[in-house]
């Protein structure tokens, strides 16, 4: 209590870090997470065999597009399913009761959960990005052609991670009031689909209210195949956009969860 009275902020961060590392450790033991990682790797490697269906694009461009698409697809599923599973395994077991009866604020608990899933997604994007990079590099060597400089590739992976973390934050918001992991993960995936379709709301007036929802299409790494990279200012703007929505979704989830009875 003395710690909380004298210096509450570092103590809060310490608790968030503890909950995040516990969440990450649990996530790394999730069979579902490994299944999705395996499916992602297989999809990325399948690009090698599907390269004939490139719709006229260069082979390396197809490999990059297909690989990043596969990482994004499996990553979206991982972001929603892992968040819902980790949240409800605590809540349905005894862990949430043990944690939330200690001097842990509800926002610290949710912040730790979100940070843990974000770390899992960083590992996922990093490892599958590495697999894709190896595949492209091998093909570059075989064809004797250059495709994409490393910084642009890393940027594409970074944008993908930002997008996936937004999906996990949307799922966290649903988790804060939902009563089952199945509902939370399904609703999280549905919200991710809505956020991917956000650009279509520009055209139709009656869907304009959806502009309040994050636009995940902004994070699609279109610069990779086209070669026209984001400016530093544009990238910072995108990171700012991401941070605002992470804070909004996280804040809303914390507000709802604060009043939830365990």
């Amino acid at each position: 209590m003395a710690e909380a009275r004298s210096n509450p902020f570092p103590a809060s961060l310490r608790r968030v870090r503890l909950i995040a590392s516990q969440t990450l450790a649990e996530a790394l033991h999730l069979r579902l997470a490994w299944l999705l990682v395996l499916a992602g790797i297989m999809l990325v490697l399948m690009a090698q065999w599907l390269r004939d269906f490139n719709f006229g694009a260069s082979e390396l461009k197809f490999l990059g597009d297909f690989g990043l698409g596969a990482i994004g697809l499996m990553g979206t599923a991982l972001a929603a399913l892992a968040m819902a599973h980790l949240f409800f395994s605590d809540l349905m077991g005894a862990t949430a009761g043990c944690v939330l009866t200690r001097p842990v604020r509800r926002w610290e608990y949710l912040g730790g959960k979100l940070a843990g899933v974000m770390a899992l997604l960083a590992l996922y994007v990093g490892s599958l990005g590495l697999v894709l990079a190896c595949l492209i590099t091998m093909r570059e060597a075989q064809l004797g052609a250059a495709f994409q400089p490393l910084p642009e590739y890393l940027q594409a992976c970074g944008l993908l991670w930002l997008k996936l973390t937004l999906v996990s934050a949307m799922t966290l918001l649903v988790c804060s009031y939902a009563s089952s992991a199945l509902f939370a993960s399904s609703a999280g995936l549905l919200l991710a689909v809505v956020a991917h379709l956000r650009p279509f709301t520009q055209a139709s007036g009656w869907l304009s209210w959806l502009r309040l929802w994050p636009n995940l299409a902004l994070f699609d790494p279109q610069s990779l195949p086209a070669g026209d990279n984001l400016t530093v200012l544009g990238l910072l703007g995108l990171v700012g956009y991401w941070a605002v929505f992470i804070l909004l979704l996280g804040g809303l989830a914390s507000y709802v969860f604060k009043h939830r009875e365990i």
């Binding site: 009275r5 516990q22 450790a25 033991h29 077991g93 009761g97 043990c98 009866t101 200690r102 001097p103």
Partner: protein
């Protein structure tokens, strides 16, 4: 973080009631109604009652996991659920399902890290509660290798690791063998002797009657009887923990 001027009661329930909405009609089903109780530091309160009588609801409200629909719950003078109250509470939930991949020691480190225990005391406290719980040899094993009784003892260990002033135990004897139940009864008395207030729910009426200073009997969410052992049982004997004849025989045969 205001400190109350004088703390005389460790646990207070004032006209506590909890009801839950039923369907879409706006109706509410009461789980607990008009419950008023007080417990001083160093006392043990046993809450007895059939399933669905409101024992867990009462303990959850004291732990701050649910908010009262009416009335008040206070821990050491602070509203239950406030950060100040949670800093002095140790809570054992009804279920003892924890992360199966983690070791018992790892889980206690996690719980101790989230408490207001000074970092320098963490390792020593974990060793002490592991020893008490009889989990010293299994401390570094994964929890998916633990029996139900071991998980229950680990749950008790996490509730005590940060040396709380108020200990709330929901069915602590569940899953424990006779030896474990005797050890639990001794522990509860030891905690009270150290000046801690202990509230626990149980179906084991005889044992509760032996170790409690105060007894509360709940039925259908209402307080049916509450008082000291003397008031309810006419017993002037100080609460003691001793094995019954059948328990003595069992332990003798088990340990030779």
């Amino acid at each position: 973080m205001s400190q109350p001027a004088e703390v005389s009661w460790a646990v207070e329930l004032d006209n506590f009631g909890k009801s839950y909405p039923v369907g879409w009609t706006g109706g509410r089903r009461p789980a607990v109604q008009g419950l008023s109780l007080r417990l001083a530091p160093g006392q043990v309160l046993g809450v007895l009652g059939p399933n669905g009588s409101g024992k867990s609801t009462m303990l959850k409200a004291l732990a701050g996991l649910i908010t009262p629909s009416i009335g008040q719950c206070r821990i050491m003078g602070h509203p239950a659920g406030s950060v100040e109250a949670r800093a002095v509470v140790g809570y054992l939930p009804e279920s003892s399902r924890f992360a199966p991949h983690q070791t018992g020691r790892g889980f206690l480190h996690y719980c101790a890290g989230l408490s207001s225990l000074p970092p320098g005391k963490v390792a020593a406290r974990i060793d002490a509660v592991l020893l008490w719980a009889g989990l010293g040899a299994a401390a570094d094993r994964k929890m998916d290798t633990y029996s139900k009784g071991m998980l229950q003892r680990l749950g008790l260990a996490q509730a005590l690791v940060h040396e709380p002033a108020v200990v709330l135990l929901d069915e602590p004897a569940s899953g424990l063998d006779p030896e474990g139940r005797l050890a639990l009864a001794k522990l509860i008395r030891e905690l009270a002797d150290q000046g801690r207030a202990v509230v626990f729910s149980s179906h084991l009426l005889a044992q509760a009657g032996e170790i409690c200073d105060r007894i509360a009997i709940l039925g259908r969410g209402r307080l049916l009887a509450e008082g000291t052992r003397f008031e309810l049982l006419g017993s002037t004997r100080r609460p003691v923990v001793e094995a019954s004849p059948i328990e003595s025989l069992y332990l003798e045969k088990l340990h030779g």
